[in-house]
């Protein structure tokens, strides 16, 4: 499933920086959306895939504050932090706050573009996993309570017989429910089922 095209969001209060970055990033064919402030960005952004290029020093909401705000909104956009010179404490804070990477200006254009590409692909992978997890969770939600109990038994490696004994049910009933839940979970094999169960319980 292909979603919308990944976009590079550039937030910088300096128009020269904003425009020049936009000009540079577009030169390799990536769509760029710019914002002059954190607030402006937050107003326009709606969970589009891509990455965020952010100057750490800005009037109003600073880059770090925006980062915190995004985390609070559970927006998982990879953030590339641009710093003027080695402001180590700021960098450390940014990285701890979940920034994808940082880059010091003046920078080499290739370095910047490489990191942007990496950030976008990381975002794509994260979105894929999140989508799958969502799908599995949706399927799991369709299971009846009994099917869910049987699934837990199967995933725990128990035989039908054992599950039947534990749940005080006929083995035939177990087999019936089992085939139903395999269908509902869209699992072709026991391996699939176990994977889904792991995905469903992973924190993401």
């Amino acid at each position: 499933m292909r979603g919308p095209e990944p976009t590079v969001f550039v937030v910088d209060d300096d128009p020269a920086m904003r425009n020049s970055l936009c000009w540079l990033i577009e030169s390799i064919g990536l769509p760029v959306k710019t914002a002059a402030s954190a607030a402006e960005f937050l107003r326009s952004y709606a969970d589009a895939p891509g990455c965020l290029v952010l100057d750490v020093r800005m009037p109003g909401m600073s880059g770090l504050e925006l980062q915190a705000e995004l985390a609070a909104r559970r927006v998982c956009l990879p953030i590339l932090v641009i710093t003027a010179y080695a402001e180590i404490p700021l960098v450390v804070r940014a990285m701890k706050g979940g920034a994808f990477d940082f880059i010091e200006k003046p920078f080499n254009d290739q370095t910047l573009l490489d990191r942007i590409r990496k950030a976008i692909s990381a975002d794509a992978e994260a979105r894929r996993i999140r989508d799958e997890q969502d799908a599995v969770k949706r399927r799991l939600a369709q299971l009846t309570a009994r099917e869910r109990a049987i699934m837990e038994g199967v995933v725990a490696g128990k035989s039908n017989k054992m599950i039947a004994y534990e749940l005080a049910l006929n083995i035939k009933t177990i087999e019936h429910h089992r085939s139903r839940l395999m269908q509902k979970m869209q699992a072709n094999s026991l391996v699939d089922l176990i994977r889904f169960s792991v995905i469903a319980t992973e924190p993401y």
Binding site: S20, I28, Y85, F107, D109
Partner: protein, 901 residues
């Protein structure tokens, strides 16, 4: 005759003459019988007047006639006796036998006979008689009369009885007593030999009878003493002699043996074995000799005096005691010798002793020595009395007790002292005996909180169960046995409940003549506390990292803590006794003695920084703080040195100073630094933008995707950003160059002087000497004084830094001022450092160039900027003898030397 012989004779109530009398009685009896025979014929006249009793009986025994003597004998009249009315005349037992015997006589069956028979007189007493009966016949031969002679023999009978008894006694005596009694005839031939003494001579009674004295003695010598004695006895003498027979001593008495008529018919002798007596005498003599010897040599003085007190005999000891000779003493009465004050002591006891009221008395008194001093004596006086109890003489035994007396006095004094001391002293004193306290002093009451009575009431260990010895109590017992002092520190619970520590010493003494233990106890509670505090302090001192050194006043080390061990490397054992200046360099010791000890004695404390030497020889800087300790009276007693190794402190201080210097340095360039930082940030933005625009263009051109208009716009944007950067730099330059610096007229020499205090911190730290070569009266310069001072300071710092590796004696920095060509004043700072290698020399004034690891490299650059801003020059030159000189010139104030602003 000896007393013993007399005694024997007295005992038996007889004499040899008594013995002689015996045959006489027998002779008289015989004559009486003859008289009776005579009566047969001339009968009648004689009958009546016969001196003995006579009776004429009919043959049937009927009395016909009795004479007067018989009547008197029996107490009856003739008529009474002849009438035959008197019955019971004959003793009852003999009557029948007498009648029978009379019939036999009458019948002619027996002849005349006499018997001893008893009659009973009228007054009832029994009468012994010798009665003779004979028969008178008529011519026809028929029995006509019986004539009876009655003779009273009661006296004889009594005598016989007495004799018999006495002979029996004599016999028993002779047989029992250790004596021999013998008799001889005139030929000195033994006629008898009796006595138990025979046994000792191996003789049977009368065995010697028949042998002569000479034969018995086996001697022919007529001169032998016994023979002579016996012969003398035959002449009527009584002789005593002593002789030894068969090893035994006999005392012999021989006298004449006479018959009843006094004729000597032999000898009679008595020998008594006196062997034991002789032995006893010998023993007595020996004893007497011994007594005399003992008397003379007795260690006590002995005087024998008459009842009046005149000495009869005195012994040597007494003479020596009183200093007189025996003769001198004998002339003095006891009273004269006695000390006048003591004479009364003996008057009454002596009187009573002499009077027999008492057996002896004892007195202790003083005699006067011949030399005048008193001699204390102890005297026992007893009396010797005769049989009637009369006092014969007095025996006084005298002992010199002066020494004892002196000791007693000393003892009493000592006792008094002890009491006084014990009652007033602060130490508690106990005397205990067995399990009980016998004495306690007031201090003991105070220490225990118990009353004296309570203490004496309870046993020693019952004072309080908590009063226990630290060591076990058998220790006391063994020490008591060994008689040495023992010492404990014990804890006692005072009655108030608090604990008191006592220093308790016990020793053996005597109390009331019995062994006892005396204990002395000091309250050392405070001392214990002090000790604990002291131990804690000592512990703390030991834990201190720094050296704490105690010395005596002369400086010899008396204490040495662990810190000192670590600091100096000497152990305690090595350090004690050493002089503390041994911790310094030898050449410094005298100086220290002056520089430290003198002020220390004056002020009590002294602090200094000093270089000290470790055991390894290594020198190190130290901060030494000396304190003079005084004792309780304020007299100096000890020194305490507190020594801190300041190697590290110095290092840190130096580091701090350097750091401060750096900070100062940084602060001086901080304006510049901030400017540079700001410049960097400002320039970053346009530069980044330029890069982005141009790279973006390049990408598009490469991919041929950019439209020309877009590319042109981007290029113009890039150019605009470049202009923006240029604007920033321009504005910066404007900012730096903006405004004239404040300028005042200054004397460069004054500026140099103002800089020096700041520079000194650094020069001092690095051991750099500063020399000023200032030219006086220089023209003033119009300058910003602070900026010029900073330049000078900067140059001084550089110079100091440059000399870090220079030998210390060459570390000299010279600041000079001079007038220079072209109305200029020149300031030069010259160092003795390494100088600059040529390749560096051309860079030293460039900004951010530095040879120092921690420098920013702005110093010379800024300095040059400042100097050039003042219209001067700053340059460096190499010295001929090494090192570098930095010069700067400043334009002088238009020749006006004294110009005022």
């Amino acid at each position: 005759m000896s007393a013993r012989i007399r005694a024997i004779v007295r005992l038996f109530g007889m004499t040899p003459s008594h013995a002689n009398a015996l045959p006489e009685v027998v002779r008289r009896e015989r004559s009486t019988e003859e008289v009776l025979h005579a009566i047969d014929e001339p009968f009648v006249g004689a009958f009546e007047h016969a001196p003995i009793g006579m009776a004429l009986l009919a043959p049937d025994g009927r009395p016909l006639r009795v004479n007067r003597a018989l009547c008197e004998m029996l107490g009856y009249s003739e008529a009474e006796l002849v009438s035959g009315t008197v019955g019971g005349l004959t003793y009852p037992d003999e009557d029948a036998a007498g009648q029978a015997r009379l019939r036999h006589l009458v019948n002619g069956e027996i002849g005349p006979y006499h018997i001893e028979k008893r009659y009973i007189a009228r007054d009832g007493h029994v009468l012994w008689t010798l009665t003779s009966l004979s028969l008178l016949r008529d011519a026809a031969g028929a029995a006509r009369y019986v004539i009876v002679h009655v003779q009273d023999i009661s006296a004889r009978k009594e005598m016989e009885k007495i004799l018999h008894d006495r002979e029996e006694r004599l016999r028993v005596f002779l047989e029992q007593m250790p004596a021999v009694l013998w008799t001889t005839d005139v030929d000195l031939r033994f006629t008898s030999g009796r006595g138990r003494g025979l046994v000792e001579l191996d003789l049977q009674p009368d065995q010697v009878v028949g042998t002569t004295v000479g034969e018995y003695l086996q001697t022919d010598d007529a001169g032998a003493l016994p023979v002579v004695a016996h012969r003398a006895a035959l002449r009527g003498e009584s002789v005593s002699y002593e002789t030894d027979v068969q090893g035994r001593a006999f005392q012999c008495h021989v006298g004449p043996f006479r018959d009843a008529d006094g004729r000597i018919i032999g000898t009679i002798g008595l020998a008594i074995n006196v062997t034991e007596q002789r032995q006893a005498e010998a023993a007595r003599r020996e004893s007497e000799a011994r007594f005399a010897n003992a008397f003379e040599h007795a260690p006590v003085g002995i005087a024998i005096s008459d009842p009046d007190g005149h000495p009869l005999r005195v012994n040597r000891a007494l003479c020596e005691m009183l200093g007189y000779s025996e003769e001198e003493l004998r002339l003095k009465k006891a009273a004269e010798l006695t000390h006048p004050d003591d004479r009364h002591l003996t008057t009454e006891p002596r009187r009573r002793l002499v009077a027999g009221e008492i057996a002896r008395y004892h007195v202790e008194k003083r005699y006067l020595h011949r030399l005048g001093h008193a001699v204390w004596v102890s005297q026992n006086v007893s009396a010797v009395r005769d049989g009637s109890g009369r006092t014969l003489y007095l025996i006084a035994q005298t002992q010199d007790v002066t020494e004892r007396r002196r000791m007693l006095e000393a003892l009493q004094e000592s006792e008094a002292k002890f009491r006084t001391l014990a009652e007033t002293v602060g130490a508690a004193i106990f005397i205990f005996q067995g399990e009980r306290l016998r004495y306690v002093n007031p201090a003991a009451e105070a220490i225990t909180g118990q009353s004296r009575a309570a203490l004496l009431e309870g046993g020693f260990w019952q004072i309080d169960p908590h009063f226990y010895p630290v060591a076990d109590s058998p220790g006391i017992a063994s020490a008591t046995a060994a008689r040495h002092l023992i010492r404990y520190e014990v804890r006692l619970r005072h009655r108030s409940g608090e604990f008191r520590w006592l220093d308790f010493t016990a020793g053996v003494t005597e109390f009331d003549g019995q062994p006892a233990v005396i204990g002395t106890a000091f309250d050392i509670t405070q001392r214990k506390r002090d000790e604990r505090a002291l131990r804690e302090q000592a512990h703390i001192i030991d834990q201190i990292h720094d050296a704490v050194i105690g010395t005596d006043l002369a400086g010899y080390i008396t204490s040495w803590n662990r810190g000192a061990e670590h600091m100096f490397g000497y152990t305690v054992d090595e350090a004690l006794g050493k002089h503390m200046w041994r911790l310094c360099r030898e050449e410094r010791r005298d100086i220290l003695e002056r520089e430290v000890m003198l002020p220390l004695r004056e002020r009590g404390t002294h602090e200094l920084e000093i270089e000290l030497q470790r055991k390894s020889g290594e020198m190190f800087p130290a901060h030494l703080s000396m304190t003079l300790l005084t004792d309780d009276r304020g007299v100096p007693s000890r020194l305490i040195g507190y020594c801190v190794d300041i190697t590290e402190r110095n290092r840190v201080e130096e580091a701090m100073r350097q750091h401060q210097a750096q900070l100062a340095h940084v602060s001086r360039v901080s304006v510049m630094g901030q400017m540079a930082a700001g410049l960097a940030h400002e320039l970053n933005q346009p530069l980044t933008a330029i890069v982005s625009y141009t790279r973006g263009c390049a990408h598009r051109i490469r991919s041929r995707s950019g439209r020309a208009t877009k590319l042109r716009e981007a290029m113009e944007e890039a150019a605009a950003q470049a202009e923006r950067a240029a604007d920033i730099i321009r504005s910066l330059r404007t900012m730096i160059g903006k405004g004239e610096p404040r300028r005042d007229w200054k004397d460069v020499n004054a500026l140099v002087h103002q800089v020096l205090p700041f520079a000194e911190a650094e020069t001092h730290l690095h051991g750099v000497a500063v020399r000023l070569e200032l030219t006086p009266h220089l023209p003033r310069v119009q300058v910003d004084g602070i900026q010029i001072e900073q330049v000078i300071l900067n140059l001084v710092r550089n110079a100091v830094d440059a000399m870090q590796e220079t030998a210390s004696e060459r570390r000299t920095l010279i600041i000079s001022t001079a007038k220079s060509a072209g109305d200029r004043v020149e300031v030069a700072v010259r160092d003795a450092g390494r100088g600059f290698p040529p390749e560096i020399a051309s860079h030293i004034f460039e900004p951010f160039f530095t040879t120092k690891s921690n420098g920013l490299g702005m110093g010379l650059s800024i300095s040059r900027s400042i100097i050039e801003a003042h219209g001067g020059n700053l340059w460096a030159s190499a010295n001929a003898d090494g090192g570098t000189t930095f010069h700067f010139t400043l334009p002088a104030g238009e020749g006006k030397r004294d110009a005022r602003p």
